[in-house]
């Protein structure tokens, strides 16, 4: 494989994406909301006004014993806030890598097909392996980098606010490490795989993006089940979940990639 060509395609894809408002906008707005605006608003509101604004507090109180909460958070408002900022935000966070990898893949394959640049690219000496590798890496890397960067912002904002109010750090569950470094890449790959599958049929970038947006549905379901107390997240479960997603990724990729030939995508 010619890595010089692979790097060139990745660089070109990212440069192109950076110039498209339609593509960049959700990639900026969603992480901004999830990593800074929402957690900051929740933290400040709870520290200032308590949990008066939360409906169904009784239901939240029932799920408190299901989680490992550091003893320092002894009051119910702090415990609910801890659960919310650590356990509920994590699956929400996973939307970022899935969404970004889907958007970039949809743009770099179906978008290129739609704009007739894919044909020009496939007429160059790029091999099938180089093409697939560059498109996969080009979609995976920005999702991963933005997830890690988003987490760093989240960590600083949430812990900065909690340190200001209670002299302690609110985001400190080891589950975040599993989430960011294992679950996020696994889900990012899932988003990629589904978008690749969609790319074989979709005619336009918007069609591909809309079809692959379905990937976030299971994540939303996870959040609902977790808030309602049906399932409880722990580091071990998060690791098992990530490994299961990786297995699905591997099975799906090994079946999909042989179908992903020049003839089928041109």
């Amino acid at each position: 494989m010619n890595w010089f060509r692979i790097r060139a395609v990745i660089r070109k894809d990212l440069k192109e994406v950076a110039g498209m408002k339609m593509v960049v906008l959700p990639m900026v707005v969603v992480p901004l909301l999830l990593c800074i605006i929402m957690p900051a608003a929740i933290s400040i509101t709870v520290f200032t006004y308590g949990i008066k604004f939360i409906s169904n507090v009784e239901m939240m109180e029932q799920i408190i014993p299901l989680y490992d909460i550091p003893e320092v958070f002894s009051t119910i408002p702090l415990q609910i806030q801890y659960i919310f900022l650590n356990y509920t935000f994590l699956p929400l966070f996973m939307v970022i890598p899935v969404m970004i990898s889907s958007i970039v893949t949809a743009n770099s394959i179906v978008g290129e097909k739609e704009r007739h640049t894919l044909e020009t690219l496939l007429y160059t000496p790029i091999t099938h392996k180089e093409f697939i590798t560059s498109k996969l890496l080009g979609a995976f890397l920005p999702g991963f980098v933005l997830t890690v960067t988003g987490f760093l912002f989240y960590f600083v904002v949430v812990n900065g606010i909690s340190y200001y109010y209670i002299n302690d750090l609110m985001v400190r569950s080891p589950m975040w490490l599993v989430g960011i470094f294992v679950a996020a890449p696994a889900l990012s790959l899932l988003g990629l795989t589904i978008t690749l599958l969609v790319s074989l049929r979709a005619k336009t970038y918007l069609e591909a993006q809309q079809m692959s947006a379905m990937v976030v549905v299971p994540l939303v379901l996870l959040i609902v089940l977790q808030i309602s107390g049906v399932i409880t997240f722990h580091t071990g479960y998060a690791l098992l979940f990530s490994l299961a997603v990786l297995l699905i990724d591997w099975c799906a990729m090994s079946r999909l990639l042989p179908r992903f030939k020049r003839e089928n995508i041109l």
Binding site: R5, K12, E16, M20
Partner: protein, 290 residues
Amino acid sequence: MAIIESQGLSKTYVNGVTALRQVDLRVEAGEVFGLLGPNGAGKTTAVRILNGTLQPTSGSYRVLGESNGSTAIRQRTATLSEQAAMYSHLSVQENLLFFSDMYSIDRGTALGRIQYYLKRMELWDRRDDKVATLSTGQKKRIQIARTLLHEPELIFLDEPTSGLDPDAADKVNTLIRTLAEEQHTAIFLCTHNLPMAEKICDSFGFLSRGELIKHGSKAEIVESIQREKQVEIVTNSGQFTYPIKADQEINTHIQSLISSGHIITGVRIPQPSLEDAYFHYIERSQHELV
């Protein structure tokens, strides 16, 4: 020496459409070859197979001595097609640098060639502008610069002037022919634009419904039409066309027209053109199919 040779080349797509049927083709080095045929004849499929982008269903081919589907074919050739576009959100120079990278051209050489070709195409001043801001004709010239960057030995042109106005099309044709001659690059042109092909090409192939129905130089193809000789006599009251077996019959027809009160203003014995040959073979192949 042949630069393109194919035997029994056929292509049926997964949806069941057969685009090429048993195509045997030979294009000699130094030739500008024109593959002519109506829309849907299989020209683009032929290009995509010969440039190694698609695999044939059956048959074999060699391009510049490289066999079926070799990446080396795409390294040594270039393809400019009707629809293939450049990246509109990138600048002219960014586009050309990207394609230089695809052909593994080192940055210094690439920058030199980009400057040379953009100056030739009169687009050097637009190098930092996004491709989206260029006119159709300018985009086509950038595409030509892109195809020449890695100094290919063979260029596949698939409807290169489609969408251009006659003046821009003429400039592109002249540019292609000139650059091909300067760089000794062979050209494989696919088109349904007969006047353009006649102006650029040395030899021709007619493709109809995936079959190569005629192949040869213009003289060979035109001679091959076994058409009845005709005379066209133009009079003050219109034009009369008569089939003739010998030249003496022309006088007989002229005298007959004069005696019936016509004033002769011109006499012509039409020679079949490449266009006549094209329609002759294409229509015959379509009748045979019916």
